[in-house]
Amino acid sequence: MNRKKHWYDYLWIVTPIYLGLGFFNILFAWLGMIFFCLPLLISIFGGGKLYCNRYCDRGQFLSLLGGRLKLSRNRPTPRWMGSPWFRYGFLIFFFIMFFQMLFTTYLVGAGARDLGQFVKLFWTFRLPWHWAYHGTLFAPWVAQFAFGFYSIMLTSTLIGLIVMVLFKPRSWCVFCPMGTMTQAICTLRAGKPPVDEGCPGCRR
């Protein structure tokens, strides 16, 4: 089947560009706020999961690598990864780490802590990243937030790539915190979909 290509089918390019820009100047990490706010705004204002379904650059990037470039083993995603416990547990963990990052930003802003010119991978490993900070007109907390936010984006991309290789191209989507959050918002807005009585295998 040859589906007509749209401009948004090429959004996968945003992921390598974003990560590449952050390699040279960490302040570009602030652009990631778009990927944070846009899905939430779309679902809050009634657009459902249009972001995941159509505009998610990371989803497209993983599809490209795992699907078209065949870098995925294409094995079933473990069932526990799709369980509500894991999905909401990962979302809460993600939130805790996000607020810890905000607190660090606050400490740097208040002068209680020096700017940490490193990227923290998997919330544990400090990776030197000082070349991406050039001492700007902005206050140190602006750069601290950028380092923290870039750490989150790089870590989540790496997790996405790992599960892409091990399982299906878009296995990340199963427990992506943004996807979980937007689906929760949509469920709050619309409720559960109507049950199809004639379909024994459908959702109950």
């Binding site: 459902g48 995941c52 069932r79 799709g82 369980s83 299906k168 191209p169 379909c199 024994p200 295998g201």
Partner: protein
């Protein structure tokens, strides 16, 4: 004539929309961002959505014999 099988979406659908993209007959849509829904009349049970689904919630069901 309808095919013998159709795709059914289980309760743990994450509404990612992967199935929508691969359906050759546009028989699937994401219902209000909550879950994917299959138009059983249109679905021919090709199984592409089942292969694509990262959450593994799509199964192929046998249609009951039409009288």
């Amino acid at each position: 004539m309808a095919s013998k099988r159709y795709a059914a979406v289980g309760a743990r659908c994450v509404a990612c929309g992967c199935c929508v993209k691969v359906c050759p007959l546009s028989a699937i849509q994401v219902w209000r961002g909550v879950a994917a829904q299959v138009d059983r009349d249109r679905c021919v049970g090709c199984g592409k959505c089942q292969q694509e689904c990262p959450a593994g919630v799509i199964t192929l069901q046998e249609r009951e014999a039409q009288v």
